[in-house]
Amino acid sequence: QQPVQSPQAVILREGEDAVINCSSSKALYSVHWYRQKHGEAPVFLMILLKGGEQKGHDKISASFNEKKQQSSLYLTASQLSYSGTYFCGTVEETSGSRLTFGEGTQLTVNP
């Protein structure tokens, strides 16, 4: 079952922050985050495992609330290079290695 992402689109000015949310009605084993630039393949950002951990690198971080089956991606002090479509992918506890993605969030960072 596809996870649900919100918002569908975000427009920021350079330096502003954004939060992208991902939720599932199923118990999750892991949540993946990817970014896709126009005309390119999605690129891995990070993965969060069951256990409610928070991960991050540079100014992009994420959290996973396993009680609510929700994950959030935090982009702080956004840069022009952050523009793209962000996808969350989920692996459900009962689905083996099946990786299902949400509808995506289009992020535009303007100067």
């Binding site: 596809q2 084993y29 892991s30 993946h32 999605p42 993965i47 996808f87 990786l99």
Partner: protein, 112 residues
Amino acid sequence: DVKVTQSSRYLVKRTGEKVFLECVQDMDHENMFWYRQDPGLGLRLIYFSYDVKMKEKGDIPEGYSVSREKKERFSLILESASTNQTSMYLCATHSSMNTEAFFGQGTRLTVV
């Protein structure tokens, strides 16, 4: 360098044709996936395979079939292409549920 290679970047086929999309990975991963990407609908899972000759239907398997005879190769088959199968098709692979997935460059299929 990790590689997931899709056989064609662009493909144009006629309605009713049988179409094969090929994906090859060089990472010895067990899991391979076929997704379809359409504006506003995200990445929708068509089929995935967790081992040679093993497959599971995804969320939108109708009109598609798959084949995995060797670990490194996963084929998506459109038995009789229709115009509503015009889309971007992405292949992906990962070794387990807690590792990152790697994507191919995609095949833009147009059915006329």
